[in-house]
């Protein structure tokens, strides 16, 4: 230290300089010249000041600390706010920082963007007839610029909660999924049994046995103090009576693209206008188109082959699948004359439509040039048949022998990270263990590329109890299982929430230093399908179990369980009817529906 060339500026000048390196330098030289006694004096002086350490981060110029903070994810930023006052100041009011966090998220996963329903405005699909039929290469598509303009639109909407609150909301949602907590619940009882249920935020559509269609608005409560479930008022609760046919309504479909058109034109306005949505209902072997606006019904000329099991929308068509495996495609505009009809010769358990947005895929089959912009996945017990929107076969995903398919979800994202995956929840033949298979699909779902088992240590429970009900939405699974307890608890139900993806933002990968006992062997299934560890009977809503971190750094997740209490008056059983990324719809007995809000 003493070999340094003497500085030209004097000590006082250096120490008073506004530049930190200069001051630093001077201080260093000072300490170098100190002897033992001097250092003791310094120690005493330092002890008397309020801060014994200097805060490097807040000493950085603003643009540098901002740059640094961008590398931290939402949870870290929340924790950093609690460090000291200056850090809190830098982070809390820095709107751009929080906005950058939202921008980092996958738009298909982020509640704020999804619920704003503007997400679909990223890919305007105003009218299929006007879409260009040429390909649009992924590289030409500027997702980030679109995302920025979407964020601007969200920001300018009245009642916007602010970017920091938005990030907190997302993180709270993630935590609630992980720990099985909900913030609010809503119960509605109907006078008759409820059969088909459709959850399409912000609407919940219930059809009862009358048959009547109830359309309930779920987001009237957002931002407002949660109230009791309201009386029917024309805006938030619509009931339509379906002219009686033979039998009850077996299924109903919802057109999620219809929202895009009306919202696009009314972006800045309030939510006053209703979307024009025609609901197709299958009543016996006839299809009716129900117009909620006018309350009218039109019976379609299409006669379904027997009992209609499933209905769904795919781009500009409606697909109906009957009990004996007949698949009929017909357009969603009048006169609804069927386009194609074919049979898959097996009982279809579930129909999932996949829309590829504006991308067109092509394939040559002999002389035939197959083009498609959407596909439909027909799940049956042994696998999934995938057809394109012209009813031509694309591919089949077959499961192993003896394996029973329970539920599927199809993901085809048009934004980064461009996921094309089929998630299949199935039951193994011998152990009856439920597992999830993730099948990587080629673009356009034209073929299967690979498949992998998702986290086999996942304890999704075992099949065997017919009262169990399962619902899936993208990467999230909700399972309601029944339990018989020999103690006073008797019979009760447990709702388990599982998030396969477990991260929406860039996750913080870290390993806690405290040692964690080695968890059970990976392929358990013998005793622990419960996920409830350390369950105490005093707790009502919380279950045990939860994430633990193995020493190796892998995260072994179990679903948290919510115990569902039902009144001793009517021992009604719970079942899960539908779920989306932030809401769960449970049926309590045949006539009551309970909605749990996770955020």
């Amino acid at each position: 230290m003493s070999q340094r060339a003497p500085s030209r500026t004097s000590f006082t000048e250096s120490i008073n300089s506004p530049d930190w390196p200069h001051r630093n330098d001077a201080l260093r030289k000072l300490v170098a010249c100190c002897d033992e006694g001097d250092l003791q004096v310094l120690h005493r002086l330092l002890g008397q000041t309020s801060q014994s350490g200097y805060d490097l981060v807040s000493a950085l110029p603003f643009e540098v600390s901002h740059h640094l903070l961008l590398y931290l994810d939402g949870m870290d930023l929340i924790r950093c706010q609690a460090v000291c006052k200056s850090w809190r100041g830098i982070i809390q009011n820095n709107d751009a920082l929080w906005r950058a966090k939202v921008r980092d998220w996958d738009p298909a996963e982020c509640t704020l963007l999804k619920d704003a329903m503007d997400y679909r405005l990223l890919f305007p699909r105003a009218s299929y007839q006007h879409l260009p039929t040429m390909h649009e290469s992924l590289n030409e598509y500027p997702p980030l610029a679109e995302l920025d303009s979407l964020l601007n639109r969200i920001e300018s909407r009245p009642g916007f909660i602010g970017w920091k609150e938005a990030v907190v909301q997302e993180l709270v949602l993630k935590q609630n999924w992980k720990w099985g907590r909900y913030v609010h619940q809503l119960t509605t009882s109907l006078t008759m049994d409820v059969k088909p249920v459709l959850l399409a935020w912000p609407w919940l559509i219930l059809v009862d046995n009358w048959p009547r269609v109830h359309k309930i608005s779920l987001d009237g409560y957002r931002g407002v103090r949660y109230q009791e479930f309201p009386q029917e008022n024309g805006r938030y609760y619509q009931v339509m009576e379906v002219p009686r046919g033979h039998g009850s309504v077996s299924c109903i479909a919802w057109d999620s693209t219809a929202l895009t058109v009306s919202r696009a034109s009314l972006l800045a306005e309030t939510n006053d206008s209703e979307e024009r949505q025609l609901l197709p209902l299958a009543l016996g072997s006839y299809l009716r188109m129900c117009d909620p606006e006018t309350g009218t019904f039109e019976t379609l000329p299409t006669v379904l082959h027997g009992f209609a099991l499933h209905l769904c929308y795919l781009r500009d068509k409606i697909i109906s699948v009957s009990l004996d495996g007949h698949v009929v495609f017909f357009p969603k505009t009048p006169p609804f004359l069927p386009i194609r009809s074919s049979s898959v010769n097996t009982k279809v358990l579930q129909v999932v439509a996949v829309d590829f947005g504006s991308r067109t895929f092509e394939r040559r089959e002999g002389d035939l040039m197959q083009t498609w912009q959407g596909a439909v996945c027909l799940a049956h017990e042994d696998g999934v048949i995938i057809k394109d929107e012209q009813s031509n076969m694309l591919c089949q995903v077959l499961l192993d022998l003896g394996v029973k398919l329970i539920h599927i979800q199809a993901i085809a994202d048009n934004t980064w990270p461009y996921r094309n995956e089929l998630l299949i929840l199935y039951e193994e033949p011998n152990t009856r263990q439920r597992l999830v298979l993730c099948v990587q699909m080629g673009p356009g779902y034209r073929e299967e590329i690979s498949r992998r088992l998702l986290a086999p240590s996942f304890s999704l429970g075992r099949g065997g109890d017919a009262r169990d009900s399962i619902a899936m939405c993208r990467d999230r699974i909700g399972i309601v299982s029944h339990r018989n307890c020999s103690s006073d608890l008797g019979h009760y139900c447990v709702l388990r929430l599982l998030d396969l993806k477990q991260d929406m933002a860039v996750s913080t990968e870290y390993i806690r230093t405290e040692s964690v006992e080695e968890d059970e062997a990976v392929s358990d299934g013998s005793n622990n399908d419960d996920g409830i560890h350390g369950y105490s009977e005093d707790e009502v809503d919380d279950g045990g179990g939860g994430g633990r971190k193995l020493k190796r750094g892998r995260v072994h997740i179990r679903g948290r369980a919510i115990r569902l209490d039902y009144s001793t008056v009517n021992k009604a059983a719970y079942r899960i009817l539908a779920l989306d990324h932030a809401r769960i719809v449970l049926g309590v007995g045949p006539r009551t529906v309970k909605i749990l809000y996770l955020v």
Partner: protein, 159 residues
């Protein structure tokens, strides 16, 4: 062709032009100055820090110049630091921050990114108390404020 850089404590450093031009600030200065051989003063950077910065630029002299482009992955990641860079950044905290400040002043974006990522990695995953310990920060919240913050972040608790 060598360029002479002068630190704030008057130490001279001779570096190749190519190496010096990793710093956009120096690059612009050289363009303005032209063919003159006069040394470039850097009053905001001390010799110790400048040594480290030059070491970085020497090692990365052949790196392609980064275009600030929106790549496919818009997320800011901090787990992709090269091994050499990681070893380079194993210095005490003070030097780390001085390198960051110098990189900011000299406009060497890759070095700034590496520095910020390194600090971000120190912060990641730590509770507020652990962060305070790591950076030697004093908790200057009053007990009431502390309680309020704790209440706000109750949902974030992992237990």
């Amino acid at each position: 062709m060598p360029v002479i850089l002068v630190s704030s404590d008057n130490q001279d450093f001779k570096v190749d032009k190519e190496v010096a031009e990793r710093s956009i600030l120096i690059k612009n200065m050289l363009e303005d100055v032209g063919e003159s051989d006069s040394p470039i003063p850097l009053p905001n950077v001390t010799a110790a820090v400048l040594t480290k910065v030059i070491e970085y630029c020497e090692h990365h002299r052949n790196d392609p110049v980064q275009v600030p482009e929106e790549t496919d992955d818009p997320r800011k990641r901090s787990n992709d630091i090269e091994e050499w860079d990681m070893k380079f950044m194993q210095v005490d905290q003070e030097m780390l921050f001085e390198i960051i400040l110098a990189a900011n002043y000299l406009d060497i974006k890759p070095l700034l990114d590496v520095g910020c990522k390194t600090v971000a990695n120190i912060i990641k995953g730590k509770t507020p108390e652990e962060i305070r310990k790591a950076f030697n920060i004093v908790n200057d919240f009053t007990p009431e404020e502390e309680a309020q913050i704790k209440k706000e972040n109750e949902w974030a608790e992992d237990r």
